[in-house]
Symmetry: C2
Subunit: 206 residues, 2 copies
């Protein structure tokens, strides 16, 4: 159990994305900082948690850094993903090409509306939520994505947890209550807009 | 121009959401910390940037705190939003009820596919991207949301910036290059999964 601060964890995927264009090269902390839009002292500090310090005047070996970050993020292992709630957002996620190639293969799509059962999205059929438990155990879902309306989200979360999932990505606009040991990450699209608003209000004022 | 750290800005919308269930009450920093899943010292520090210190043994007046956070986030003003790219994700956002009620009214939906023009989503017709510039000036879009495929995102961003927008929320999986003075926030759904992965790998290891 390493003590990497949560704020650093949040930035690691950003570094990883930026580094992808620099494979087989070296990169300075200043350049990486510029790409990731943080300051370079923070980059050096973040990378030091991985045991990476770079070489003075040369920078960091990008391939090694990508390996270290990937390992730290647990990306050297595949994590099967399921999505529950196949409205527009669930469908968008199911079609999103980027998941599979990064080790997050979508192995299950579920809904409670019988009219959707059997419909194919991104090559996979939508299944009944009633079959979730069996599917979860057979396909060993590691991450459950909730894209249901707010009113259904807690029930879906409970079902995921009962089936043994310990990691939930919640897009429904509500706070889920879960037992200790279950990690819930909430993606709230209004939150992002509110942060836009903060900087807009500053621009307007200045 | 106040010096509120970016990390605090990121947490303000979370506090706001948690406080909504406690209107007309008081709340302790410990309780708010628990709801927002941060530590209580951080809550007190964050709120001190707003000039809020609470009352010993009583806590914070929730209504006042909501007012202060809303004001700080610029939510006391309306920010018209446009969405470009009306695939599944754009459609999901256009239908997402939570924006309007928080002061982010969606006033424009655009696509470059003529087959989509005139189709209604959430009560508003999809317009041609060719008409973006005129619409942006007439309706004073403040925030541009990009939900196009990666290949189209930079061109859309350029068009938004040319039309005077200074705040962009980018869902396309690519890094946009924009001039100084333009604020781009990227929502990368893989990033969230990678953070899930980090904590999953830690669970498995422990």
């Amino acid at each position: 159990m390493k003590g990497i601060p949560p704020a650093t964890v949040q930035r690691l995927p950003i570094y990883l994305r930026c580094l992808n264009d620099y494979r087989a090269q070296t990169i300075s902390s200043e350049r990486l900082a510029q790409l990731a839009r943080v300051n370079s002292a923070k980059v050096r500090k973040d990378l030091s948690f991985l045991g990476s310090y770079g070489t003075r005047g040369v920078g960091y070996d990008v391939d090694h850094l990508v390996y270290q970050i990937s390992r730290e993020l647990g990306l050297t292992k595949d994590w099967p993903v399921c999505i529950v709630g196949m409205g527009n957002l669930g469908s968008a996620l199911a079609r999103y090409g980027g998941f599979g190639e990064r080790g997050f293969e979508v192995l299950g799509l579920f809904d409670s509306d019988p009219r959707k059962f059997g419909k194919k999205i991104g090559g996979r059929e939508i299944e009944s939520l009633a079959d979730f438990d069996t599917a979860a155990r057979e396909r060993e879902f590691a991450i459950g994505v909730i894209t249901t309306p707010a009113g259904a989200a807690q029930e879906v979360a409970d079902r995921m947890i009962a089936a043994g999932l310990t990691s939930i990505l919640n897009f429904a606009p509500m706070v889920l209550s879960v037992p200790d040991g279950v990690d819930v990450r909430r993606v709230d699209l209004s939150t992002e807009l509110q942060i836009c608003s903060f900087y807009l209000a500053r621009q307007t004022a200045s």
